[in-house]
């Protein structure tokens, strides 16, 4: 009977928050850490993928980020949210990878149009997910690593400016500057490569 009561209590108990899971993981509970991975893997993988512009490489980087988190769990400062700490580890790894990566041949001349080509405007909202990812990667290739990371964390992932500043170890003003500069570059590249996705087909 006692066992039955315990099981019922477990079944209806609230999910543990991140800090409780970190505490359990610090005590060696691998299942608790697996739950943290489960909760945050999608966001970490998405950020790594859009910083690196490569899904496969991003998977490896995201995996390494979680392994580093486990190995350095004792250094986690609970004053931060666990996700911010994870994004810090993952974006550092992604930026390092980006900087050390040999330059790749990324020519997209097939998508360039002759100046003066007339295009009809098309709403971005009409695009499928794969097409959005492809266009984003193509445009974001023009961004330097820190701008790209700031834009991805702030605009794609929706982290608060303060969280991005913590993750990238810079000030909030620097984050805003990176995001505004990144937007400017992305708008320019969008107008150059895909004017149909700008309101009025790029004619403003």
């Amino acid at each position: 009977m006692g066992l039955l009561c315990l099981r019922v209590r477990e079944a209806v108990s609230e999910p543990r928050d991140d800090r409780e899971l970190v505490g359990a993981a610090l005590g060696g509970d691998e299942n608790a850490f697996a739950e943290l991975v489960r909760r945050h893997q999608a966001g970490v993988r998405r950020c790594a993928a859009r910083i690196l512009l490569d899904n496969e490489e991003a998977r490896d980087v995201a995996q390494l980020a979680f392994i580093r988190a486990w190995e350095n769990l004792a250094r986690y400062d609970a004053a931060w949210s666990f996700s911010t700490w994870l994004y810090r580890i993952a974006s550092n790894l992604a930026i390092d990878t980006l900087r050390s990566r040999e330059s790749r041949d990324r020519t997209h001349s097939g998508h360039l149009r002759l100046v003066g080509d007339r295009v009809e405007p098309v709403a971005l909202g009409k695009l499928g997910e794969d097409e959005v990812s492809r266009i984003f990667d193509e445009l974001a290739a023009a961004l330097p690593p820190m701008q790209r990371a700031a834009f991805v964390l702030r605009e794609v992932q929706g982290l608060a400016t303060a969280e991005v500043a913590t993750a990238l170890e810079c000030t909030e003003a620097t984050v805003r500057n990176h995001v505004f500069q990144a937007r400017q570059t992305l708008r320019r590249e969008l107008a150059r490569r895909y004017p149909e996705y700008l309101p009025m087909g790029g004619e403003r």
Partner: protein, 164 residues
């Protein structure tokens, strides 16, 4: 949040000036409202594009398994780190070379099995009971023996998600 309220907040959203709670509310509204997304596209197409970048495909459990397997692998590597690892690696290589293609019963003499092709892909197949079968070459050897066993056992990790 109403569309009217969302559109009032779009300039501040684009200006990165909203409090986190307001920003979350605007993002949730934009995710569900095509009309307001179109208004955002007018205001800032780069942000509108960012909002539509999808999350990765749903293979979350495979990813979790890969991470947890990676942790175990690193732990074994650390345990076998330094001088003892070198000694164990050398010993494991010798044992593997000697017993390659054989099953090694604990507590008994090695029993010959059918010859295995040396070109076969590296693999480990934990056999029934107390048998461990090693096959092929190029595998990574991490651990020797079960302290409780009298005979040789070789644990070979070829897949980081395998339990040791």
């Amino acid at each position: 949040m109403t569309c009217e309220h969302a559109r009032e907040l779009i300039p501040a959203f684009v200006g990165l000036e909203l409090a986190p709670a307001d920003e979350r509310a605007v993002r949730e509204h934009l995710a569900a409202c095509g009309g307001c997304r179109a208004a955002l596209e007018e205001a800032e197409p780069a942000t509108a594009l960012a909002l539509r970048v999808p999350a990765p495909g749903d293979d979350g459990e495979a990813f979790v398994a890969a991470v947890m397997g990676g942790l175990r692998q690193r732990r074994v590597e650390r345990r076998l780190g330094g001088r003892s690892w070198r000694w164990l690696a050398a010993a494991a290589a010798v044992v593997a070379a000697f017993f390659a293609g054989t099953r090694v019963p604990r507590g008994g003499e090695p029993a010959a099995t059918a010859a295995l092709s040396p070109t076969a892909a590296p693999a480990i197949r934990p056999a029934e009971g107390t048998f461990i079968e090693v096959e092929g070459k190029g595998v990574r050897l991490y651990q020797l023996g079960d302290p409780a066993a009298r005979d040789v056992a070789v644990a070979v990790v070829v897949d980081p998600t395998l339990e040791l």
